[in-house]
Amino acid sequence: MATLLMCAISCWNPIALTERPGLRQQLRQDQEIASEFELQNFETKTMKKFDVQTGVVLPLDRANVDTDFIIPKQFLKSIKRSGFGVNLFDEHRYLDKGEPDADNSKRPLNLDFVLNQPRYKGANVLLARENFGCGSSREHAPWALDDYGFRVLIAPSFADIFFNNCFKNGILPIVLDKKIVDELFTEVTAAEGYTLTVDLPAQTITRPDGSTISFEVDAFRKHCLLNGLDDIGLTLEDADAINGFESRWREKSPWYFNPPA
């Protein structure tokens, strides 16, 4: 527990860091590069803490939603972590082709697409189908979902890399039985303003009628989400173990430490 507490303290603090000598200059250089495209205010991740979330549920009734669907490739050219929300589901949300520098407020909306339906405005729980997030490893997919405002994803299954990426960004992906997901789809579409309350500490989802569904979550990931932990800091607490492993491994398999010819 002491280890975890230390990590929480060592988590990133933007004010302290900009005070570090040399860093300010580096930031300035980067901002100069970025300002060429008005990409101001470089950020790094600040993992949001997750506790209890209540919100409108948006049903995306489609299997195998891939990460190209979530955020098309042209938006991956950004060197930032934020600002992807307006291009979430871009190819389905708008009728034209999106470009990174476009004014999205002027683009024609696809009114048939579920995200554009007024009843789902402000949704922060996404209800999805099998194999959600398959395809590319782009973390821009969870960045886009997070930037739009989704904090919880519910599906019968997720693709592995995407699932992992969600936890690194304060998003909770929940796997539920296909039967329960089917029920939720029916309920969400039937009742306008349908909300769910997701309680991570209790690992329960509460429906509007008060009934609850319990869900599984990895203990380590749960802990990190609840505390907004930076897992690099946590790993570095094991620096001695890593160093020890590395020297044994170098001894045993020196060919992996060969510099290029």
Binding site: L17, A63, D66, K73, S157
Partner: protein, 480 residues
């Protein structure tokens, strides 16, 4: 006690620390870096004042954004017309310089698609753990390395700690018995596998590929198979190292030399699944049953043999799957029952980390040699996977064969596989592509992708529609 699988052995040999909650710290021997998924990771290091744990474990090259025409490439960074792409490539150069990481930059002849460059440079070795912020990192499993794609937060984590937090996956064995028929390639094997187990079939597993047909493949073919393990849902694919692997690695720049090579090779050849190893799932295919494959839909599992037809959603018992087929056919502009051979094409793309290696280019050149691209084909691109592949192909005269047939010979990069550069498939156009994903919009907004082998793509270029490449090869045999 049951024996261990190759995956078990790779896992055990890299285990730094097992945590009580089931997660583990796994040591990473090599990280490959490209321009798209790394800027935010480097930025994270900067903002936390962290340094790479072991800078020489990293190797970078730009690939996703860079242009593939000679005129643009000859102008270096300034030749990248899209300013946002240019800044991303320049950011990689700057970051690598700042953090002391070796980069094969866009002007270096060794530059190329990161998954072509790694093995080519000998930076991918059997028994290693390898990561990259790219899902097709599974490619490197073809050399008996545990390799998988990670997100940008994990890229930063590996840079800073040389470790990854992992939970052990399950073991799957896919065995392809017997011998392939002529004209059938590694790409057809892996598409047939995905058609069989589905795009989520391998989720939660590491897939080891084995059997006579796999063992008979060249290293290039093996890389094609492992490359698409992720398209079957598996983060990592594996093929145990053998003499083919050892021969491939010998003499490559990053590979050990002399006595150390012999010692390493001896260790690598021991890295196989034990005879009594336990797999959680075993899938067996007969190579003789596999015929050239063509995808008709918007997921790699939506695949049919070239002799087949586009399916009818009304004949599909599962309502969810029927709906997926309907959505796919709508996007692809195809009618149920259409013969695969009747699908007309507008564009042909030969390239990508799946199929841009020398053997792929040879296979495509053999089909187009002495023939002409159909007049209805608007664009046919051949994009070699690296500068060294390009050089080799040119030494063999393959570039001339392509150009004489009417295909464009380009500079190395990811190109139209994901269309982050200018090489984009226009809306509504059908493309025979040797890449790995046929998702909506993948090759360009509204573009319609059909995944095939290099030989099948080349044959489609000549005919303007899909043909069974086996017929063409028979025809060539008769002519000679």
């Amino acid at each position: 006690m049951a024996g261990k699988t190759l995956y078990d052995k790779l896992w055990d040999s890299h285990l730094v620390k097992q945590r009580d909650d089931g997660t583990a710290l796994i040591y990473i021997d090599r990280q490959l870096i490209h321009e798209v998924t790394s800027p935010q990771a480097f930025e994270g290091l900067r903002l936390t004042g962290r340094k790479p744990w072991r800078a020489d474990a990293n190797l970078a090259t730009p690939d996703h954004n860079i242009p593939t025409t000679k005129s643009e490439r000859s102008r270096g960074l300034e030749g990248i017309m899209d300013p946002v792409s240019r800044i991303q490539v320049r950011t990689l150069d700057d970051n690598c310089r700042e953090f002391g990481i070796l980069e094969l930059d866009m002007n270096d002849e060794r530059q190329g698609i990161v998954h072509v460059v790694g093995p080519e440079q000998g930076a991918t070795l059997p028994g290693m753990t390898i990561v990259c912020g790219d899902s097709h990192t599974s490619t490197h499993g073809a050399l008996g390395a545990l390799a998988h794609g990670i997100g940008t937060s994990e890229v930063e984590h590996v840079m800073a700690t040389q470790c990854l937090i992992q939970r052990k996956m399950k073991n799957m064995l896919i065995r392809v018995d017997g011998q392939l028929n002529p004209g059938v390639t590694a790409k057809d094997i892996v598409l047939a596998i995905i058609g069989n187990i589905g795009t989520a079939g391998g989720t939660g597993y590491t897939i080891e590929f084995g059997g006579e047909a796999i063992r008979s493949l060249s290293m290039e073919g093996r890389m094609t198979i492992c490359n698409m393990a992720i398209e079957a849902g598996a983060r990592a694919g594996l093929i145990a190292a053998d003499q083919t692997t050892v021969d491939y690695i010998r003499g490559r720049p990053f590979a050990p030399k002399g006595e150390m090579f012999d010692k390493a090779a001896e260790a690598w050849l021991q890295l196989t699944s034990d005879n009594d190893a336990q797999f959680d799932r075993v899938v067996v295919l007969d190579a003789a049953d596999i015929i050239p494959q063509v995808t008709w839909g918007t997921s790699p599992e939506m695949v049919a043999p070239v002799t087949g037809v586009v399916p009818d959603p009304d004949q599909e018992a599962d309502s969810g799957r029927a709906e997926s087929i309907r959505q796919a056919l709508k996007y692809m502009g195809l009618k149920p029952g259409t013969a695969i051979k009747d699908i007309k094409l507008d564009v042909v793309f030969i390239g990508s980390c799946t199929n841009s290696r020398i053997e792929d280019l040879r296979a495509a050149a053999a089909v187009v040699k002495g023939r002409k691209v159909a007049s209805t084909i608007e664009l046919a691109l051949v994009v070699p996977g690296s500068g060294l592949v390009k050089k080799q192909a040119e030494a063999e005269g393959l570039d001339k064969i392509f150009v004489e047939a009417g295909l464009e010979w380009r500079e190395p990069g990811c190109s139209m596989c994901l269309a982050m550069n200018a090489d984009q498939l226009p809306a509504g156009k059908h493309c025979a592509s040797t890449s790995n994903r046929n998702f909506e919009g993948r090759q360009g907004f509204g573009g319609r992708t059909h995944l095939v082998s290099p030989a099948m793509a080349a044959a489609a270029a000549i005919h303007g529609h899909f043909v069974d490449v086996r017929d063409i090869l028979l025809e060539s045999d008769r002519a000679h």
